[in-house]
Every structure is written in C-alpha cells, then in structure tokens.
Point group: C2
Chain length 209, copies 2
C-alpha cells in the first residue's frame, strides 16, 4: 500500500510543519511583546527563531501574517472551548463561570500572544484578514452576551445594558494580561472563580420579596 504510506508520511510531515510553525509564531509573539511590532525587524525574528531568513519565510510570509497567526494562536482554543460550554445544558451562572475559566486559562497560557494582539490590533484593522479576526472576536463576545441575556430572561440576572455588562466582565478578566504572573502564587482558576463570584453577585437579580 504505497499510497497509504505516502499519505501517512505527508500527514506526519504536515504535523511537523504545523508544530514548527507554531513555535515560530510563539517566538515572534515573545519578541513583539518585548520590543513592539513596529520596532521588530525580520532580522530580529531570524535571530530569535534561529532560522535562516529563507527558513523563516518557509513558515511565514511576513510580519503582518505573523500578527494574524498570533491572534489565531489564542483565539482558536478559546473559541472552541467557549462553543463547547455554550452547548452544554447548564444554568447561565455555571456557563459564565466556565467561560471565565477558559478565558483566564487562555491569558495565562498565551500571555505574550494576548499582549501583542491587545497592543497592536489597530495595525491589522486595515488588512483583509481583519474580517476573520473580527468575526472570531464577535463570536466569542456573542457567546457571553447570549449567556447573560438568557440569564436575564430566566430571571437569574438583572441588568439594563448587555453591551456594557459584557464589557465589565471582559475588562475585569482581560486586564489580567497586565498583572497576571503565570509563575506567581495566585493561580488562574482562583482568579477566574474570585472574579466570577464578584461579577455574579453584581448582576444577580434580587430574590422576589
């Protein structure tokens, strides 16, 4: 079965390629997070990855593509976790807590990538790739908004403005990219639970008198 063998080999080499590409993306995220996107040259990336210039271009077409790949790196695992949570048959409070854990875990795992995106997204705004990035971000925000609004319909939550309520939740957690130390004493799941407790008490409807 030479065909099958070839197919297996191709899959393996594709996997190796993907893995090496992700390493390049992560290294670039680290360099961009430290020096800023504009100040980083292709030569800096060559030095940081240990690749030749041609080797680097084998994995990535240029700095803008790297910025897009950096966003994919943390948004894809986050989105797939959030989608899975949204499909569960669970109360809104439980779902919101689970998404907080997913988001805090994502920030803890991909802090460089999140930092680069939050600092440099305005650069990609004019790129054709922005449409897909915007779509992914909107989908994540919509999952949260749906949970919040379902909670309001069911009488668990009380709030007047879905957008500002979303932004309060998002800000509380996302801002941790500024202070969260993955090596520190406070672990991401603890932060997610602590912030969720404050937020849920903050939007919980008063019990009927």
């Amino acid at each position: 079965m030479p065909e099958k063998k070839a197919e297996g080999k191709t899959a393996r080499s594709r996997e190796r390629y993907e893995q090496r590409r992700q390493e390049v993306v992560d290294t670039a995220a680290k360099v961009f997070a430290e020096r800023g996107f504009h100040a980083t040259t292709v030569d800096d990336l060559v030095a940081a990855t240990g690749l030749q210039r041609g080797g680097l271009y084998h994995y990535i077409d240029g700095k803008m593509e790297l910025l897009i790949a950096i966003h994919e790196r943390f948004i894809e695992p986050l989105l797939s976790e959030a989608r899975e949570i949204a499909e569960r048959d669970e109360p809104p409070e439980t779902q919101l807590r689970s998404v907080a854990h997913a988001l805090m875990g994502d920030i803890a795992s991909y802090r460089d990538q999140v930092t680069v995106f939050l600092h440099e997204w305005r650069i990609i705004e004019s790129d054709p790739a922005w449409k897909a990035i915007r779509k992914a971000r909107k989908e994540f925000e919509q999952i949260i908004t749906d949970i919040l609004e379902r909670g309001r319909e069911e009488g668990t939550f009380a709030f007047t403005d879905s957008r500002l309520t979303l932004l309060a939740w998002l800000g509380m957690i996302n801002y941790s990219y500024q202070w969260f130390d993955p090596e520190g004493r406070t672990q991401a799941p603890h932060v997610a639970d602590y912030f969720t407790d404050i937020f849920l008490s903050g939007v919980r409807a008063a019990p009927p008198a």
Copy 2:
C-alpha cells in the same frame, strides 16, 4: 518695582514654557500610541511637534523622559482628585463611585497617554524614575484599597482578598482604554456609574437575616 515686574514676567514665561512642554508631551503620546515607543524616532517627534530638533530638546531630554512625562500627565490629576475624595467624610460606596468617575474621566481625557503607559511601562521599570512612578501608582491603589477595607470593617462590603478585589475593580475600568470612544454615544460618567453599580452589588455584604 522692577523686581516684581521681572518676577511676574518669569512666572508668565514659566507658565508658557510649561504649557508648551505639555503640548509636546501630548503630541509624543499620540505618536507613541500609534506607532509604538521603540519605533518612534526623535525625527518623528520633530516632525509631529513642528519644532526644530534643538527646540524639542529645549522641552525634553529624550524619549525616556517623554515616557515619564506621559505618565505624570494622567497620574497627577487623577491622584490629586483621588486624594481629595479620600479625605471627604463620605460612605465607602460614595467614595468608590467618585474614584470610578475620576478614573474613567482620566482615561477619557488622556487615552493616548494611558495607552502608551500601559503598553510601554516595562521599558521604564529599569529607569531611576520608576521609583516615583511606582510610588504614585501604589498611592492610587492604596486609596482604593483603603476605601474597600473601610467598607469591609463597617460591614458594607464583604470580600476575602483585598488585592484581587482591587484588581477586579481596576480591570473593569482600566480596560476601557481598549474600547472607550470619547466621541462615541456612551459617555464616561455613564460607564463609571454602570460599572460601579455592578461592582458595588458584587462586593456588598448580605443584609443581616
């Protein structure tokens, strides 16, 4: 009274100098916010301010001093407002709301300056000026922490971790530097009130049964 006249003239020219210096700092903040600190050259600043290179150096010694002045620009009015609020004889809930208004107003007025600081503070960490910056930031955080802890002592608030409670409050508001549009429909005082309502409900002690 030639002396007095000279004194008056000096005060006026000092005021003009200060005003022009602040304009230079604000222009630099705009350029740094758009292009990043590292990627901005002194020539870029010369072009943006419309000054000659020598004229620029009349107001500022270099890029690092600009970064420090950018921090002062938004932390000083914020700190003086926060100090004034802390001294008032008011309940913790009222004080916390007032500081939220001060912070949201500061972000709305100095969005470029806040953006540059949040994106570039790691650069100043090794500078001797960092000590003063850290002190100002600690003082602001301590004012919030004191309000929270007084509320807890008085039985208004209930929480277990002052630091994480502060970070939840700070994140909710500070993250608005990412999305707040000073020209937009939602005004800063409305955001401050909306977020304060969620946060106060979030940390309010349960009424005695």
